[in-house]
């Protein structure tokens, strides 16, 4: 598979009041044409920060300290956020934010929103053209065109999220960064949003998705690979099947085993969460960042940071892998 988007050695931090909080450290990833990559982890693990960096939306107090991006063979320096060409945003990379509620203007109709988005990229577009384009796209995806005349409060949560999805892909971006698009929705609306994303891929409106969620069963249904993040680092990356059925990193294992699904094994035993809480990123622990909570902690883990064992497409950053190899 040809690589569509790749980023390497991304370091990003929030700077405020003379302090620095390193939210993402040394993350590299590759996204192939047609691939859906999941990004999972607990609150505060840096997944949304990484999404902001990937979406070229890093704004103060968030700074990209290091990192290069290659998009369709073209290299970009992520540190120079301001100098990145405008057509990247929205046309090549588009964002689907978490709360559709907050991304729609409550005093404007949906069609006004579509018009604003289109006009930002095509200054000469006429209102009627924008309306037609949006209506055509909605209808192609099986959504009613009448929503264009609606105000946001007239739509249900699931419909709002779907409308925002359609509008954020109006310009046929190559990559869609979906940052927890379904976490505020109930399971039935979640399913409809996921179905819409699948349809967008099928119709070749978009070619790849980076799907951020903390809900692994949801990711299982749509992603090809899943990256697990912990305290700003990517600790494991593997295809979805491996992450779910044969996770390598102790953190991934703990995360997978704390999932509650209506399957018989869930009721048969007591399921334990992960003891403790994620570290304070102003002062992360030495060595492996997961070691204070890890069940399989060894002496090395407390001292030295584990490298990635594996390659860029599949790895686990844990000293246990070295033991196995030796």
């Amino acid at each position: 598979m040809a690589s569509l988007l790749s980023v390497s050695h991304v370091h990003a931090a929030y700077k405020a009041g003379g302090r620095e909080i390193k939210a993402v450290e040394d993350v590299s990833l590759e996204l192939a044409e047609g691939e859906v990559l999941g990004l999972a982890g607990e609150s505060g693990c840096g997944k949304s920060t990484l999404a902001a960096v990937l979406a070229l939306a890093a704004r103060p107090p968030l700074y990209v300290k290091e990192g290069r991006m290659t998009l369709e063979g073209q290299p970009y320096d992520l540190r120079k956020n301001k100098n990145l060409p405008r057509e990247l945003r929205g046309q090549l990379i588009s964002v689907l934010p978490q709360g559709a509620l907050n991304s729609l203007n409550p005093t404007a109709k949906v069609k006004d929103f579509a018009f604003t988005v289109l006009r930002a990229h095509r200054p000469n577009i006429k209102r009627s053209e924008a309306d037609d384009l949006a209506r055509e796209r909605l209808e192609k995806l099986g959504l009613p065109g009448r929503v264009l005349e609606n105000y946001p409060h007239q739509l249900s949560g699931g419909m709002k999220q779907r409308v925002v999805t359609v509008i954020s892909t109006l310009l046929n971006p190559k990559v869609l960064i979906a940052d927890e698009p379904t976490s505020a929705l109930d399971v039935s609306s979640q399913r409809s949003v996921v179905a819409l994303l699948e349809q967008l891929l099928e119709e070749k409106v978009i070619s790849s998705i980076v799907f951020i969620a903390h809900d692994i069963p949801l990711l299982r249904n749509i992603t090809d690979r899943i990256a697990i993040m912990y305290a700003g680092k990517m600790v494991e990356l593997a295809d979805t099947e491996t992450i779910v059925n044969n996770p390598q990193h102790p953190y991934t294992k703990a995360l997978i085993s704390s999932i509650l699904v209506p399957e018989p094994y869930v009721r048969q035993k007591r399921i334990e969460g992960i003891a403790g809480s994620p570290p304070d990123l102003r002062n992360p622990p030495k060595g492996c960042r997961f070691h204070p909570r890890c069940q399989q902690v060894m002496e090395t883990c407390k001292e030295k940071e584990p490298p990635r064992f594996g390659d860029t497409r599949q790895f686990s950053a844990c000293w246990l892998k070295e033991e196995v190899r030796a």
């Binding site: 607990e42 399971v187 809900d215 699904v261 209506p262 399957e263 869930v266 007591r270 399921i271 969460g273």
Partner: protein, 252 residues
């Protein structure tokens, strides 16, 4: 066994005329002492309205609720809340920003007549029960606590009063999966220890399945199905329940 709570033909509508919306329609159910029962349904199915009515934060349009054989309308809310407590969805909204944990707990204890010594013991015991160290937490303000810690404080607050019934309205939906399990385990342990009943409101069938004995399924204000959790997950009768189950993403 006599019922702890019996709800019969409960109705609640909002608005009037052509704008009238029925949020809860002819809902009846019973709750036994020491039982954990889930109310599941999608957004807007009326499950939170039902919880608010049972908590007496909202008056029903019609219908009866009896608690330990007594019509709740004849009890004062203060008396009722000594027995029935709640934990809500959003641990960020449930706190007064200017109250320390100690103040929050003190205020809740005002419902019971206790001396200073007893008050302190209750406070410390319940904080210990939810896995928080009283010495470190009592002086803290909400912004100094994480989401999981806040939810635990809310639970400690409810527990201190040793209620017969706890109404938990989506207590875990704002939390991470790993924390979620520990909160649910906590509820399980509390039931074991105090014999408390829990009405657990959720849209997540996975959580209901893990924690609860029985499940009540709501759809558009109506209770469309009730039964043991195993029965419903294995062979649900109502088409809505089947659809809801089909929508739950599978792991394996």
């Amino acid at each position: 066994m006599s019922q702890l709570l019996e709800v019969s033909d409960l109705n609640r509508h909002f608005g009037s005329g052509k704008y009238q919306v029925s949020a809860v329609k002819d809902v009846s159910f019973k709750l036994n002492p020491g039982e954990i029962v889930a109310v599941v349904g999608e957004s807007g199915s009326g499950k939170s309205t039902l919880a608010r009515i049972v908590l007496r934060l909202l008056a029903p349009s019609s219908g009866n609720i009896s608690f330990m054989g007594q019509d709740v309308a004849s009890l004062s809310t203060t008396d009722y809340w000594r027995q029935v407590q709640a934990v809500f969805q959003d641990p960020y909204a449930a706190f007064n920003q200017f109250y320390s944990v100690k103040q929050v707990l003190q205020k809740a204890l005002g419902l019971k007549k206790l001396n200073t010594q007893e008050r302190r013991e209750r406070m410390e015991n319940s904080l210990n029960a939810v896995g928080l160290a009283p010495a470190t937490v009592l002086g803290k303000y909400p912004h100094q606590l994480s989401g999981g810690q806040r939810q635990r404080v809310m639970m400690a607050r409810a527990l201190m009063l040793r209620p017969k019934l706890l109404i938990a309205d989506e207590p875990t939906s704002a939390l991470d999966a790993s924390l979620r399990v520990s909160i649910l385990n906590l509820l399980k342990d509390i039931r074991q220890e105090y014999g408390m009943s829990i009405l657990f409101i959720t849209h997540d069938i996975g959580q209901a399945y893990y924690l609860c004995d029985r499940m009540l399924v709501m759809y558009q204000g109506e209770m469309v199905e009730q039964g043991s959790v195993e029965e419903i997950v294995r062979q649900s009768q109502h088409p809505y329940t089947q659809r809801l189950l089909a929508d739950v993403p599978k792991l394996h």
